[in-house]
């Protein structure tokens, strides 16, 4: 289990992701990237689709990536890494390479839940040996906070604004983690930027398996969620405490919830800290919508508990 000291040791030996990128001050994405990269001792090749991470880390001729890294387009990171992994397999067979190299995708929710879903599903079905890390900040942040299928219901987005007729995004967010789990791959998990050591442990566990591995990481976007610049960690922590974003794993089909909050913290406590939900607290109709949001959080949590009961590690 990589402790914080082990991660620090590895970074001292070689910085894989440098400063000098243009991600926002306080952005949670680099926190996730650094931890994941430091949690894998082997050499790593990374692919990213178009998004905040890609744009801000690779402005020609500067690159914050000190590992081999490739960006091609928005919807095809999983297809690109499939090609890299296939080349690795064959070149290894032919004797051109002897090192163990690991393959990682860092992709936003846009390039994963929506436009990238097909390529992801294809790569999962074909069984390529790679780790896909979704940096889920719940909207197309790089292009200006437009809604994605990861955007929660009632959140304000620039293509689902709060208006007289429709208050924010009408649809519930997609449960992509479960969609991925339905592909039957060896390792699936949900993690959050507020629990980076938990994330590092998950990465290490994942990398023990051959084949496709997926970790969906709730990654706060202070700008898009309209929260203070230094609030990324507190935000994600509240999302976990209110059961909005459960931390769990599905290992070879077996469900394990990593953290069960002892207290029942209403999701309203989390919603009220963010500007993207501000309208729910200024309008009398907001109360009903908050109740709906809570009901859905409860429904998904109950379902997850049942899955752990039926398909748990012990069962």
């Amino acid at each position: 289990m990589p402790s914080i000291k082990v991660l620090a040791e590895r970074e001292e030996r070689g910085v894989r992701f440098t400063g000098g990128h243009t991600l926002c001050a306080g952005c949670a994405e680099p926190m996730v990237v650094r931890t994941v990269l430091n949690a894998i001792p082997d050499p790593v090749v990374v692919a990213s689709p178009t998004g905040c991470l890609e744009v801000a880390t690779s402005r020609f001729p500067g690159t914050a990536w000190n590992v081999p890294w490739i960006h091609v387009a928005f919807e095809n990171a999983a297809a690109v890494i499939s090609g890299v992994e296939a080349a690795y397999k064959v070149l290894r067979k032919k004797g051109f390479l002897d090192k163990r190299v690991r393959f990682v995708v860092f992709a936003g929710d846009g390039g994963t839940y929506d436009i990238g879903l097909q390529a992801l599903s294809g790569a999962l079905e074909r069984g390529h040996d790679f780790l896909y890390v979704c940096l889920n900040n719940e909207a197309y942040m790089n292009t200006g906070v437009q809604r994605s299928s990861a955007t929660p219901k009632c959140a304000a987005a620039t293509t689902a604004p709060v208006g007289e007729a429709i208050p924010g995004k009408p649809q519930e967010r997609k449960d992509l983690t479960e969609i991925v789990a339905a592909h039957g791959i060896p390792y699936v998990a949900q993690a959050a930027v507020s629990h980076l050591i938990d994330l590092a442990n998950k990465v290490e566990r994942a990398m023990n398996y051959e084949g496709p591995k997926f970790i969906n990481v709730l990654t706060t976007c202070p700008l898009g969620w309209r929260t203070p610049r230094d609030s990324a960690i507190q935000q994600a922590k509240l999302a976990v405490e209110t059961r909005y974003w459960p931390l769990y794993e599905v290992i070879e089909g077996r469900y394990k919830i990593n953290y069960k909050p002892k207290e029942h913290v209403p999701v309203e406590e989390w919603l009220k800290t963010q500007g993207r939900f501000r309208h729910l607290f200024r309008d009398p109709r907001g109360k009903e919508l908050i109740a709906q949001i809570q009901a859905e959080v409860d429904r998904r949590w109950e379902l997850l508990l049942k899955k752990e009961q039926c398909f748990g590690v012990g069962g």
């Binding site: 020609f60 090609g83 064959v90 390479l97 097909q118 294809g122 074909r126």
Partner: protein
């Protein structure tokens, strides 16, 4: 070794001899058999290739890019809607200077949906930055697939190369093809030299950086330099191919009875075969006609084409696709090449053969016979074989 095989088998055989490291491919009529033959080779252990049966053509070329950037030799094949779906990625492959070779079984683009031959798919990729070669026969498809690998991988070029062969007309008809011995073909194609491979983990590189207005223009100009290098490399590779095969392709196009001709056709692909019969028929009747059949279409060998056509009285350029709203793409290439000349032939543009509409010897004879009657070049499309 001479075999009676279809065009797609000929391409598959060339691929087998090239033995790329990775093939990522998605089926579409009339290309599917290329993928099927290759899958057969892989599943029977005849080639050491990782075959990625991707879930779409967009992913096919994306996986090819990943594999090529990783340091592998990569090939694929597609057609029509498949090319249309992957064309975003084709532009990217060219911009990233990746030497991916792909067979394009020329088929019409929807709508309406049609599975038969025309060149609208090749025309869609016209400005993509991919090199484009056209084959007249299964033999040329085989030969040029081998040559394409050398052209693509040449360090002066480093671009994707498309080998066009007419859907059904060439892919599905059985023709005699002289295949090189495996060892001879392999030696001709040579070892792949990767550039800045991702898998060289000791030297991490970033592929696909984001360029702002301060650098984009220069990066694209550098890409054009790769295209500019193609003609010289093309001729070198043809000469090298002649040495191992005895088949002499000399030049960017085949000039058939063109040197002393007064009237000629310019056409891409298998229709050139039919056109040669029409030319021979008219020659027998005393009319001085000829044919110019480009092998290399992108980059367009403008000055060479202009020089070859300059002496003619009139030329009919045949396009097997619309470029809606303007003259045909091949016509525009020829016209712009001829424009700088003081003395140049009258030009006329025919659209023909769309969606697999057959083109016959009598139709081409008629097109040539009409040429002396045309007074001057006009901005107007004509059609062969269209019901008004």
């Amino acid at each position: 070794m001479r075999k009676a095989i279809t065009g797609h088998k000929a391409v598959a055989e060339a691929m087998r001899q090239i033995e790329p490291d990775v093939v990522a491919v998605y089926p579409i009529t009339p290309q599917s058999e290329i993928a099927e033959y290759y899958a057969d080779y892989v599943h029977n252990g005849l080639v050491r290739t990782e075959l990625i049966p991707v879930e779409s053509e967009h992913s096919a070329l994306s996986a090819c890019i990943g594999a090529a950037a990783a340091g592998g030799r990569v090939m694929t094949a597609t057609s029509s809607q498949g090319l249309a779906l992957m064309v975003e990625v084709l532009y990217i492959a060219a911009g990233l200077r990746l030497p991916i070779v792909m067979a394009l079984a020329n088929r019409s683009l929807s709508a309406p949906i049609n599975i038969h031959c025309d060149h609208s798919d090749a025309y869609l990729a016209r400005d993509s930055g991919a090199v484009q070669i056209f084959a007249e026969s299964a033999q040329e498809a085989y030969d040029y697939t081998l040559m394409a690998q050398r052209i693509a991988e040449d360090m002066r070029v480093r671009l994707p190369v498309i080998v066009n062969l007419d859907g059904f007309t060439l892919t599905h008809t059985v023709q005699p093809v002289d295949l090189l011995e495996d060892e001879v073909a392999k030696k001709f194609v040579g070892e792949f030299k990767p550039f800045a491979p991702l898998l060289d983990v000791e030297h991490p590189v970033t592929w696909g950086a984001f360029a702002m207005p301060d650098y984009y223009f220069e990066l694209k100009r550098a890409q054009e330099a790769g295209m500019e290098a193609v003609p010289a490399v093309f001729l070198e590779v043809q000469r090298a191919f002649a040495e191992v095969s005895g088949r002499r392709y000399e030049g960017f196009f085949e000039a058939y009875k063109l040197a002393d001709a007064e009237y000629a056709l310019v056409v891409l692909g298998s229709t050139a075969g039919t056109a040669k019969v029409a030319v021979d028929e008219l020659r027998a009747r005393g009319m001085k006609v000829g044919l110019l059949k480009p092998w290399l279409w992108r980059p367009f060998p403008g000055p060479a084409v202009a020089e070859a056509l300059a002496h003619l009285k009139a030329v009919a350029v045949l396009d097997r696709a619309f470029s809606f709203g303007t003259m045909g793409a091949l016509y525009e290439d020829v016209a712009s090449a001829l424009y700088p000349l003081e003395k140049r032939p009258i030009l006329v543009n025919y659209i023909y053969g769309l969606g697999g509409r057959d083109i016959t010897v009598p139709q081409l004879v008629q097109a040539l016979e009409e040429l002396p009657k045309i007074r001057r070049t006009e901005w107007a499309l004509r059609y062969i074989g269209l019901r008004e």
